[in-house]
Point group: C2
Chain length 396, copies 2
């Protein structure tokens, strides 16, 4: 931050939920959020509601006070909400001697945020924005030991869920050529209900849903699966699960398989994708560029005759609809998609402490797709998967 | 909007999740969000990623295009992310002839949002913010028939869950003076696990948790409940559940009860709170001021000798720790707390189509609390609860 000439930062929000920057600096879930003040050369100060203050004190910030301590209710009564917040922030900045440039962050409604920034400026605060990567995005990309611990815990739970789903699928009854789950014809819908129950048992949620796509729908990497689709043998199934724990940390894991035996084309897809993933996993380490990891995956996949998004990047194609049609991976932490990216656009070297997905895939419209994904931790000499989940292709 | 001299609005975000304004105008869940342009005298235009475009077309906006259609990738390649977004937005605004004042909204990182607004201004866009209530907050407060349908659906599911939890509690086994749930000593933790399973079965999530607080912890309206606390007979239990459905809509429901028979003080609390709620439910209608509804509840509760927050409002006390220590209610929709508020601070009349909670409570530290809450729809002549959930005090 010092390089940018910043004296400090303000991070705010009306909740820490879906507000990764505020959650990151606070280290606790605050139902009503708060305002975090950080002068670079001083310890941070956090203001919260009376409701959240005790909880906040158990988080990362030592100096926690309430809005009430700073006379917020009086400001509200005298000046209304539109004025109370900018005046409160201005008063605290003055008290902290933060009269230089400050950044502002935290997820908020832009209508309100723009009003707030305007008013702070008329009050004399030199507040400014940042384009991506922001200081906080960069900070959040490198995980601390505590964060790795949290992510690994979500990984272990996710892995247990995947194994239970695989076991459940293996245990399905066959009757007159159809598969049955708990007395009903097996469909994507009732498998998803089973997955939801397992998430509940593990105390996880899936705010962005779960992908369980069978047959042709598995060819679209973002098709969540059609609830009424019947589960059938020999069809490709992409199961991509990305849950969040109460701690706020996410995990991301994909397995692709068929029930029973696979045909030759499906097997080829699987072997190519697994080969690409294994090649990347042996290459990833501190210092490797994000784009080099992606290139490695493209090399393996192209060697087997499939197209990759490199064709677009190199100007050989405008778009591609089959082959490896997305990037290799992304960071995971307090969000399910963050820095660093394993994509051709990312020339920056990976760093020890990054947590990224490694998820090559190969897709063919009307046929199906294969994607294999693990979430791994970048270390000085390599990378370490944060869960241990079997990669079985033919379930029987 | 016309009164404010606004020519149009931009609403944006990288997801519709936890982004109520974008979700409201789009009417669909878009994993990667989008940018919504609305010139007041024209139909809106929505830009999304290739991934979300088909889904977006089934939502509320008729004109849906992709970022790619507007050459976003080229802008990205030539100018980088910091420049690509403001240039894209500027180009679309120019094409739509939106050269007057525009508001900007949608939940976004303020660091990035402030950067974006700054750049748009240097490109000549007259973009400005709004303090609360924003145009969209006001619009969202009045629910359409479709929205009421969605909220009622969440209400029915929530009601089923509450009934199943009550039934489960009644069925607990007693052994040597202790209560057992599924073979284990009954605790808040295992009741909550049961609640999570029921949420999963109904396809709901509870992103902000669930309150299940017993005994003294029920005296704190925002104590979620201590997982290790044992469930015991004759103790006040506040069960406050506020789930969200995949449609994005929330519901809010609280019941307070004891297992077995209650003592006299607990019974008094319950009767007073139920009386206050019933009084409000017969008074609520289109045209009643939010503060009048709150006063009605305070009248009933004060008549029974309890303090209320009116003492603070009237300057009789600086804070109160027992009695009716919070407001009567709040709006529910794409968020769990929105306009209109049933509080002493809200002089505005309620309107047909508002959906609000009615949740009086009485609390006594170290003893416990009672809160009874329903989510209701304001109509021309009265109000209609959006779920039908029993209000049993003594479970046996």
């Amino acid at each position: 931050m010092e390089r940018k000439g910043i004296q400090g930062m303000i991070i705010l929000g009306d909740t820490t939920l879906a507000n990764p920057d505020l959650a990151y600096v606070v280290g606790r879930n605050l139902a009503r959020g708060g305002i975090y003040f950080r002068r670079l050369d001083c310890k941070p100060l956090l203001l919260t509601s009376l409701l959240d203050v005790e909880n906040a004190k158990e988080g990362r910030v030592r100096h926690v006070h309430t809005f009430t301590d700073y006379g917020f209710e009086k400001l509200l009564l005298e000046h209304g909400q539109a004025e109370a917040y900018p005046r409160l922030i201005h008063a605290v900045l003055t008290q902290l001697g933060m009269e230089g440039k400050v950044t502002i962050a935290g997820r908020n409604d832009l209508a309100w945020g723009t009003h707030l920034v305007n008013r702070l400026r008329t009050l004399g605060v030199d507040v400014f924005g940042e384009s991506s990567p922001t200081v906080l995005e960069v900070a959040r990309a490198t995980k601390s030991a505590d964060e790795l611990h949290e992510i690994r815990a979500v990984g272990n739970k996710t892995s247990r869920i995947v194994h239970r789903v695989l076991d459940k699928l293996v245990s399905m009854k066959r009757k007159r050529g159809r598969l049955f789950l708990g007395g009903e014809v097996a469909t994507v819908g009732n498998v998803k209900r089973f997955i939801s129950m397992q998430l509940a048992i593990e105390g996880l949620t899936a705010p962005e849903g779960t992908i369980f796509a069978i047959g042709p729908s598995s060819a679209d990497p973002h098709n969540n699966g059609i609830p009424s689709a019947e589960i059938k043998e020999r069809k490709l199934i992409v199961f991509d699960i990305f849950p969040q724990s109460e701690s706020g940390y996410w995990f991301d894991l994909t397995r692709t398989f068929v029930i029973g035996s696979a045909d030759k084309q499906a097997r080829t897809f699987f072997d190519v994708v697994l080969g690409a993933q294994e090649a990347v996993l042996t290459t990833l380490r501190n210092g490797l560029r994000g784009q080099s990891a992606m290139s490695e995956a493209c090399d393996v996949i192209e060697r087997h005759g499939f197209r990759t998004v490199r064709d677009i990047y190199d100007g050989k194609a405008k778009k591609i609809s089959s082959g490896f049609i997305h990037s290799l991976g992304h960071g995971v932490g307090l969000t399910i998609g963050e820095r660093p990216y394993l994509s051709l656009q990312n020339p920056d070297p990976l760093k020890t402490g990054n947590v990224v997905t490694v998820e090559p895939g190969v897709y063919l419209p009307k046929f199906g797709g294969v994607r294999i994904e693990d979430t791994v931790h970048i270390t000085r000499d390599g990378c370490e998967p944060l869960s241990n989940t079997r990669k079985e292709f033919e379930l029987s």
